[in-house]
Amino acid sequence: MKTQTPFDEIAAIDRELLELAPRVRQGFECLGGPSTRVEQAIREEARRVAASRARPTWPLGRILAAAASLALLLGGTAFWFASQRAGQETQGLAQQPAAAAHIDESTASFASLLMEIQGLNEDGFFRTEEAESLWL
């Protein structure tokens, strides 16, 4: 007995279908196709999707990366300005007492010099214990 392969079986089925298939197709064709409403909905969806594909869109990852870069840039700039201002303020505060002290110091030494010239400087009368012993 000859063994029937799937290829033989397919050929046999297709031979049998030659008579039956046209009638089945004819039957379904007579039932009609989908309604125009359905076909219109398909066409509209196709146009909508094609239009949305045509619009230039940024992928989410790129948007997040851009937002992170911007935040980093703004944060960095703000930090730089803040540190600059803080530096200036610290410098200003540090300079003020030094200048005042300098003025005080120069005035006191000038007064002391004038007193010395006039022989009125009494600083010499007040000596420490160590200085006194040497003087004696």
């Binding site: 089925i13 049998e16 004819q26 039957g27 007579c30 009609g32 398909i42 066409r43 999707v49």
Partner: protein, 194 residues
């Protein structure tokens, strides 16, 4: 078996690719090409015109949304795979409204009459000859697993390898189901003629 559709100048895959690149007329051509075979398969599987229309629309919506991802060799097999998956989902969500075993309803209207398009005018409606009507009734009486294979071959013109791949069954199982379907149809039609 000869294909019912004329050999296209542009392949289905090329049309789908053209659509993926923005040519919407390419999709119109694809819908035209598969309107009748796909709708007939859905009508044969659901035995309900409204359900077949909803599924037909949803199948094409899926094709439209996933056109860029299509990498299969056969568009036809891909299309029927989508259709079958949607049919399975649809069946899970809803109970059948018409028993396929009932070839006539309570008012004695044959199933084929109920499935016919209601919007077509009298001039568009083609009357089924007796033989075609009997064949249709017999097809609708086939068990579902046999009917889906039979209609995939006859309406969709899928090869048996494509049918087996679409249904995730071995080739021999697909051939066996087809063989059984053909046997039943021949027997019923012969009985009717007698």
């Amino acid at each position: 078996m000869k294909a019912t559709m004329p050999e296209p100048d542009i392949s289905d895959a090329e049309l789908l690719q053209a659509f993926a690149q923005g040519d919407t007329t390419a999709l119109d051509k694809l819908v035209d090409r598969y309107r009748q075979p796909l709708f007939a398969w859905l009508l044969g599987m659901t035995a309900n015109r409204a359900d077949a229309e909803d599924l037909f629309q949803e199948v094409w919506f899926r094709v439209i949304r996933h056109a860029a991802r299509f990498k299969d060799v056969s568009f036809r097999a891909w299309l029927w795979k989508i259709a079958r998956n949607l049919l399975i989902d649809f069946r899970r969500k809803s109970k059948p409204t018409i028993s396929l075993d009932a070839v006539a309803d309570a008012e004695d209207n044959p199933l084929v009459e109920r499935l016919a398009a209601t919007e077509a005018g009298p001039t568009e409606r083609v009357e089924l000859d007796d033989m075609a009507q009997r064949v249709m009734q017999a097809v609708m009486m086939l068990p579902e697993v046999q009917r889906e294979v039979f209609l995939m071959r006859v309406q969709g013109d899928l090869t048996f390898n494509e049918i087996a791949a679409t249904l995730d069954i071995p080739l021999n199982t697909a051939l066996g189901r087809m063989h059984d379907a053909m046997g039943k149809l021949k027997k019923w039609l012969a009985e009717e003629e007698d």
